[in-house]
C-alpha cells in the first residue's frame, strides 16, 4: 500500500514539473494530493487525510482550475534558450535531496527505523485534533484564522477590476505620499491601496493578538 501511494505521489510530483500545459499540471497535482492523503491514512492521521482531500484537492484546486482557464493554459516550451537555471535547477534539487536523505537517515533518532512509538487510540481523530487546537494550540489557531481573513481581503483588493487605471494610480500615489494618516479605507479606494491595506491589516492582527497570547496559553 505504501509503495502504490508513494509511486503515485512521486509520479504526480514529476508530472507537475514536467508537463507543458498548466492545466495538466493542475490535474497531476490533484492526483499527487490524493496519493498523499493515502499516505496520511497510513500514518494514522485520519482527520488530516480528510482535510487534504476536501480542502486541498477539492477547494484549492478548483481555484487553480478557474485561474488556468481564465489566464489560458498556453503550451509554453520549458526553456527554449537553455538558460543556466535549466541545468542548475535540477542539479540543486538533486543535491538538496541527497543532503536531506543523509541528514534524515544519518540522524541517531532511535525510532526512525521502526513503525513509530505507541500511540493512544484516539491519535489523529477529529476529537483529538479539535481538543489540541482549542486548548494547547489556541494562539496559532487564532493567528491562522486572522491570516485567512487578511489573505481573502488582500486577494479581493489585488484582483478586482480597476477603472481608469492611469489617473487613479497617479492620484493614489499622491494620497499615499501626503495623506498617510487617513488610514486604510481611504488608501484602499486608490489604486495603490493593494500595498497599503495588507500591512495595516497585519499590524492590526498582531496588535490584537498580543494581549490574547498570555491568556490563550492556559
Amino acid at each position: 500500500m505504501f509503495f502504490v501511494a508513494g509511486i503515485g505521489a512521486l509520479g504526480g510530483a514529476v508530472g507537475v514539473v514536467a508537463l507543458r500545459n498548466p492545466f495538466y499540471s493542475v490535474l497531476a497535482l490533484v492526483a499527487h494530493l490524493v496519493c498523499l492523503a493515502v499516505l496520511f491514512l497510513l500514518l494514522q492521521a485520519e482527520f488530516l487525510a480528510a482535510a487534504q482531500v476536501v480542502v486541498y484537492a477539492g477547494a484549492v484546486m478548483v481555484l487553480y482550475v478557474f485561474v488556468v482557464a481564465y489566464v489560458g493554459g498556453s503550451d509554453e516550451p520549458l526553456r527554449p534558450e537553455g538558460g543556466a537555471l535549466r541545468v542548475l535547477g535540477p542539479l540543486f534539487a538533486f543535491v538538496l535531496v541527497a543532503e536531506l536523505c543523509i541528514a534524515l537517515l544519518g540522524s541517531s533518532l532511535s525510532l526512525i527505523d521502526s513503525q513509530g512509538g505507541d500511540v493512544p487510540a484516539r491519535f489523529g481523530t477529529p476529537a483529538e485534533i479539535g481538543s489540541l487546537l482549542l486548548q494547547k494550540f489556541l494562539v496559532s489557531f487564532e493567528a491562522a484564522s486572522y491570516l485567512l481573513l487578511v489573505a481573502a481581503v488582500g486577494a479581493v483588493v489585488l484582483a478586482r477590476r480597476r477603472r481608469g487605471l492611469e489617473e487613479d494610480e497617479t492620484s493614489g500615489l499622491s494620497t499615499e505620499a501626503g495623506g498617510q494618516p487617513k488610514g486604510a479605507p481611504a488608501a484602499a479606494k486608490s489604486a495603490g491601496g493593494a500595498g497599503t491595506v495588507r500591512p495595516s491589516g497585519m499590524s492590526a492582527t498582531s496588535s490584537r493578538l498580543r494581549p490574547e497570547a498570555p491568556g490563550g496559553n492556559h
Binding site: A13, L39, Q44, A45, A51, V71, I112, G116
Partner: protein, 99 residues
C-alpha cells in the same frame, strides 16, 4: 512500514518541487511547485508526529495547509492582476517592481 521511508519520500517530493520552482517560467506552475514543497514538508511533519506519538505535528501540518491556502489566494490574485494589465505571464520578464 518504517518511518524512514516516509521521510525519504518527503525529501524527494520537496526536491522535485524545488527543481520546478527553479526551472519553470509560468508563475502558475511556480505556485504549483511551491505547493509540492509545502506538501513534502507536511508529509515529514505527519511522519514525525506518528514517530513520537504526539499530535502537535499534525496540528502543524494543518496550519501549513492554512498557510498554503492563503498563499494560493494572494498568488492567484497577483496572477489575475498581471493578466488583466496585459503584462507577460512569465517570471523572467516580470523582474521589476515598478507598478
Amino acid at each position: 512500514m518504517d518511518v524512514s521511508w516516509f521521510l525519504v519520500l518527503s525529501a524527494f517530493i520537496f526536491g522535485i518541487g524545488a527543481a520546478g520552482v527553479l526551472s519553470r517560467r509560468n508563475p502558475l506552475v511556480v505556485l504549483l511547485c511551491l505547493e509540492l514543497m509545502l506538501n513534502g514538508a507536511n508529509l515529514a511533519l505527519v511522519a514525525f508526529a506518528r514517530m513520537h506519538g504526539d499530535g502537535g505535528g499534525q496540528i502543524f501540518a494543518l496550519i501549513v495547509m492554512v498557510i498554503a491556502a492563503c498563499e494560493v489566494a494572494v498568488g492567484l490574485g497577483i496572477i489575475v492582476a498581471i493578466f488583466r494589465r496585459r503584462l507577460p505571464v512569465d517570471v523572467d520578464e516580470l523582474s521589476d517592481l515598478r507598478g
